[in-house]
Symmetry: C2
Subunit: 211 residues, 2 copies
């Protein structure tokens, strides 16, 4: 559909699902936009992808989720910054990034099994291998959690990589140019102050590193 087409700098547009899925799987958060009383509202929220759907979840009392449940049109955008691009001219400074924009309408996930599966996905996304170790959701907790799923039919990605692109005549300037790569890293785990010292750190925590 036309609204998924990247207009500005079209050669940065990517439409293959492999690229789109990889960005959604690496980002923890979507910035979810809805129209509320005619005005835009953008809320950050955790997401998790399974196949052709992006899951969002939250409290049953959340205004955002209630609006989505009523069929509000949504735009969910997720972005990774991979580096600062330092050009010879101020004008050509940029960032290397990967972003995905998903348009659509979300569907409330009603079956208890699918909701439980989605909660497993969210937990496993935060820390792979964690789900089997934790207390599973009670029926009451499942009831209090709303899960929505958004199809990925109308998704597109936009990607910038590589060194700066300067004007031809600027390459001769004695200005350092290049990229400062950036990434998100996980630091030493901080045990809960109330943790029983007899409980050892499990392998899934010790080995966890951001991709």
């Amino acid at each position: 559909m036309s609204r998924t087409r990247v207009r500005r700098v079209p050669d940065r547009g990517r439409y293959d699902r492999e690229t789109i899925d990889a960005i959604l799987d690496e980002t923890l958060v979507s910035h979810v936009g809805i129209v509320h009383d005619g005005a835009p509202v953008v809320i950050p929220t955790l997401h998790a992808r399974l196949g052709d759907r992006l899951y969002l979840h939250g409290s049953a009392a959340s205004r955002l989720l209630r609006a989505l449940e009523r069929g509000a049109e949504v735009c969910a955008t997720a972005t990774l910054i991979d580096g600062l691009v330092l050009a010879r001219s101020a004008f050509h400074h940029s960032v290397n990034y990967r972003s995905v924009v998903v348009f659509g309408t979300a569907r409330l996930v009603e079956p208890e099994q699918e909701r439980l599966r989605a909660l497993e996905l969210f937990t496993e996304k935060l820390v792979p291998g964690r789900w089997p170790d934790v207390r599973p959701p009670t029926r009451q907790e499942l009831k209090g959690t709303k899960v929505l799923s958004l199809p990925l039919d109308e998704a597109s990605a936009k990607v910038r990589t590589g060194p700066p692109v300067d004007d031809d005549e600027d390459y001769e300037l004695p200005v350092w140019a290049g990229v400062l790569p950036m990434s998100t890293v996980v630091h030493e785990p901080e045990p809960d102050p109330r943790l029983d010292p007899a409980v050892e750190m499990p392998a899934h925590v010790a080995r966890w590193r951001a991709v």
Copy 2:
């Protein structure tokens, strides 16, 4: 105003400008939402704060900026993830985060001096100390760049910090609980393949580290 009031988990709401400014200054990107043909559109874009205003910029051809220039209502949201919060129950898993939501209407920055100052801000935000070293914008480049400013009157922050909060009876479970702190780091600079080897890496690049 009422739409800046944090409703869900209200004790995470922060309304002091010191907190709001610190988050805006640490984040590179806002996710900017507008309403286009009745539907939400959310686009990631670099931002820079000066005093009571948040600056956005981009090509004069950008559809987002053209909509903002025409007085479209906007919601700009910026988010930092500070850690993964691992509880004893799946249900209480969370993330530590800091986010800012700004509602309002942007103003096109017309005076050339203010636009030049904003471009300096953007360059200095990417890498402090860089502006004096690079080729400044030409008149033509300044013309091709649109700068908009959004007042921070209707801004609010939301912050979660600290260890997991489990249900009382779950503290006895033999499950490791705590926080995996996360942050964005900058890695070894990658010189442009076309960089003249005689150009040394300046101090402002060598010392740059993400906050």
